[in-house]
């Protein structure tokens, strides 16, 4: 027997950590067909049964506000898992249990995993899990996903509940009169409108109809009679409770929870969050908050680009050029390999792939910092600080989170826009996020900086960062008043407690991202380097070229190069590099290093022959702002949903990049002679 179980819980409750604990090395990431949002699936380890665990996006309730909430809800309703593991942040138990009260309506067996019990115990709170089971009607287990305690007990409990044929009915959350109203209403629906959502769990269907849930209303297609019947019940509830329907239902849920936990928890002593509060007072201080934020950003760039870059780039380049290439050449020559094979391997593959790998240490450091920002809870604080500013530009403070994530890679950045509830803000943020430079573009800046701006490397890269912010803000301001017009959604954001980032978590995240980068170097960039080498070494009549200028690639590059003449880099090498950069931004450097490898002198000398400082700056600006790589473009299409917005976004990004580079080169080349 195969089982599917779902892992559901609030955002920030530790779901992904638990998912990794439960699935171990079996983890793989998959996209579901037809669904825009990513769910993770893996098989449960340490069990004899065949159990697939599905990690759903974090949600606060089963009401459909944002896309990730809709995805979680649709999975639970349509795929009907055999069991739900409801993960609850026990240090925030009251709010976390609100989702439980809704999951209970789905009539699906459930197991509660009380996470972060190590934190809870430190604050002097005890939770009686047997009492919890009595109150809420499903079994609980104490775990710490971080410290990996209680995991075996959780798996045992899951197995036990899965084979249990009859799971007991959940307790009534609402008072008797309300429950009667719900059941009577459901009978009425079944009798009069048997075609209305027959597959849905009864109580869930009744309550969502009464709540006039947007998704459910869409499915009943304005059935006027049913709407009238709904109004009748709503009136009854209002008279009964003296409240409107929404507050009555939410209020009863919370009352049920508060009563329940007052029975099941015991406070032995009262520890506050004093240190937290003090730290927060500094981080979010009226005057210091913004300087602190920019200081962090500056440190991130300084450490990853200048410090680590200086230490590693030279060493890796020496290894590739003086050890590897020389070694391969001698080795292959000794084996009697043909000259063109040695050239292909050295000038094509090692040069192309190596140029990208040079930057791995710097990217690792960048990813470490981003992961720390994500794990520590600082992101939400920055959103809080920035909301007021972002609002002026048609965005919300929450738009900032995708943008910070986008510093690593635009793909997860664009995907992170799903947490924004408002469609207009979500689309706008998805269009603006690629303007924030991703990690793959960084090597290009570093390269150009090291050739043309030796003494101001960090400053140059930091200036790009500021320009991208400027572009984001001005574009947000303009687009929110033109293409993406509309009302704002309001802003509600949980501020999680500050947490010390866990080394293991950071290491895993950095490893996943770096692996992706290296895999790309080993596949796309490897293949493209080989193809490029051929295109560059043969003429249209498939003769070996005498000079690269005669190659197929050069001819092609020369056709498009004139477009870039006003921007200062109208040479065929840069033009071809920009084209291959569409596949992956890492390709830009590989392409240039492959194309220039035949020329005399080393790579940096060759670069300094085809660029001037001003045209190099104009080039990096173009790379920074022009449409992202294929993967990000595809993600953007998916998140925008329609061709109209998508084509507009692409044209906007390319057009803006062209305009800004144009201005920089035209103005710059007149100032600096």
């Amino acid at each position: 027997m195969k089982y599917t179980i779902a892992l559901a819980g609030n955002p920030n409750s530790g779901k992904t950590t638990l998912f990794n604990c439960l699935t171990g090395s079996n983890l793989y990431v998959g996209n579901w067909p037809g669904v825009t949002v990513e769910k993770k699936e893996g098989s449960l380890k340490n069990t004899t049964k065949e159990i697939t665990l599905v990690d759903l996006p974090g949600i606060y309730s089963l009401a459909p506000y944002s896309m990730d909430e809709i995805v979680s809800r649709n999975f639970l309703l349509e795929e009907r898992p055999d069991l739900i593991i409801n993960i609850i942040d026990a240090s925030n138990i009251e709010r976390n249990l609100y989702l439980s009260t809704q999951l209970m309506e789905l009539d699906c067996p459930m197991v509660g995993a009380l996470n972060m019990m190590d934190v809870v115990k430190k604050t002097g709170v005890e939770i009686d899990i047997h009492q919890m089971e009595k109150v809420f009607g499903y079994p609980f287990v104490e775990i710490s996903a971080q410290k990996e305690t209680g995991i075996d007990e959780l798996i045992e409990l899951v197995e036990k509940v899965l084979v249990d044929e009859h799971h007991p009915a959940y307790p009534q959350i609402f008072p008797k009169e309300m429950t009667t109203l719900f059941t009577d209403f459901d009978h009425l629906v079944q009798e009069r409108y048997p075609q209305v959502l027959p597959e849905y769990p009864k109580l869930f269907r009744a309550i969502k109809l009464i709540e006039k849930d947007d998704e459910v209303l869409l499915k009943i297609h304005d059935n006027v009679d049913l709407m009238n019947d709904i109004s009748v019940v709503r009136k009854k509830i209002e008279t009964l409770t003296n409240h409107d329907v929404d507050s009555a239902i939410a209020d009863y849920r919370y009352r049920f929870i508060t009563d329940g936990i007052s029975k099941a928890t015991k406070k032995t002593n009262d520890h506050g969050w004093q240190f937290q509060d003090k730290l927060d007072k500094v981080l979010m201080n009226r005057y210091a908050a913004l300087p602190i934020f920019f200081f962090f950003m500056f440190v991130i760039y300084y450490v990853s680009i200048t410090l680590v870059g200086e230490l590693t780039i030279g060493a890796i380049e020496w290894f590739i050029n003086d050890v590897l290439i020389v070694g391969v050449a001698t080795g292959l020559a000794n084996l009697g390999a043909a000259g063109w094979i040695i050239a292909l391997i050295n000038d094509g593959i090692i040069t192309g792939v190596g140029a990208v790998l040079t930057f791995v240490p710097q990217l690792m450091v960048l990813f470490v910092f981003i992961s720390i920002l994500e794990d520590s809870g600082y992101m939400a604080r920055v959103a809080f600080i920035m909301d007021r500013i972002f609002r002026h530009f048609g965005l919300s403070g929450k738009s900032f989170i995708p943008m910070v994530v986008g510093l690593g890679c635009s793909v997860p950045g664009i995907m992170a826009t799903r947490t924004l509830e408002n469609e207009r803000e979500r689309k706008l943020t998805a269009v603006l996020t690629p303007f924030i430079s991703c990690g793959a573009k960084m090597p290009i800046y570093v390269l150009m900086a090291s050739v043309f701006f030796t003494s101001y490397q960090t400053l140059l890269v930091f200036s790009l960062y500021l320009i991208s912010l400027l572009v984001v803000f001005s574009s947000g301001f303009i687009l929110s008043k033109t293409w993406f017009k509309g009302a704002d959604s309001g802003y509600l954001l949980e501020i999680p407690p500050l947490r010390m980032p866990k080394f293991k978590n950071t290491a895993t995240q950095v490893w996943i991202r770096i692996k992706e980068f290296i895999v790309r170097a080993g596949t796309i960039i490897f293949a493209a380097s080989v193809v490029l080498w051929f295109l560059q070494n043969f003429t249209l009549t498939f003769q070996m070229v005498q000079t690269p200028d005669e190659s197929i690639l050069a001819m092609f590059g020369k056709v498009i190069a004139p477009i870039f003449v006003p921007l200062g880099f109208g040479n065929w090498v840069a033009s071809v590099a920009l084209l291959t950069g569409i596949a992956a931004k890492e390709m830009i450097i590989s392409t240039m290093s492959v194309l220039l490898s035949g020329q005399s002198g080393d790579f940096t000398t060759a670069i300094s022959q085809i660029f001037t400082p001003v045209s190099a700056y104009s080039f990096v600006i173009f790379v920074l702002l022009a449409s992202p790589c294929m993967a990000a473009i595809a993600t953007m299409k998916k998140e925008l949903g329609n061709w109209r917005d998508f084509i507009f976004a692409l044209l906007y990004q390319i057009g803006l990049a062209y305009a800004v580079s144009f201005i920089i080169f035209q103005v710059g080349s007149r100032i600096i002679i």
Binding site: Y60, S91, N92, S247, A250, M284, I495, P496
Partner: protein, 74 residues
């Protein structure tokens, strides 16, 4: 009768009613802002908006524009 917006950092009060309709109303309720719950204002953001409040054992931030619609009782 005052609104959540009028509370100073450190002050506590109970939610009376929520005078806003639609999505924001339901979202507030889902996040635990229901009649009768005790709310304490923690702080105001550096640029004066949004504010951060503590309720039901966690911290929530919301804009003054929305806090203005939450009526409080002492």
């Amino acid at each position: 009768m005052c609104t959540l917006k009028d509370l100073k950092p450190g002050q506590k009060a109970y939610v009376g009613s929520i005078a806003v309709e639609g999505l924001m109303r339901r979202k507030l309720m889902d996040m635990g802002v229901t009649p009768g719950v005790e709310v304490q204002v923690n702080k105001t953001a550096p640029f004066g908006d949004p504010i951060e409040v503590r309720l039901r054992g966690y911290s929530l931030s919301l804009r003054k524009k929305d806090a203005e619609n939450i009526l409080m009782v002492q």
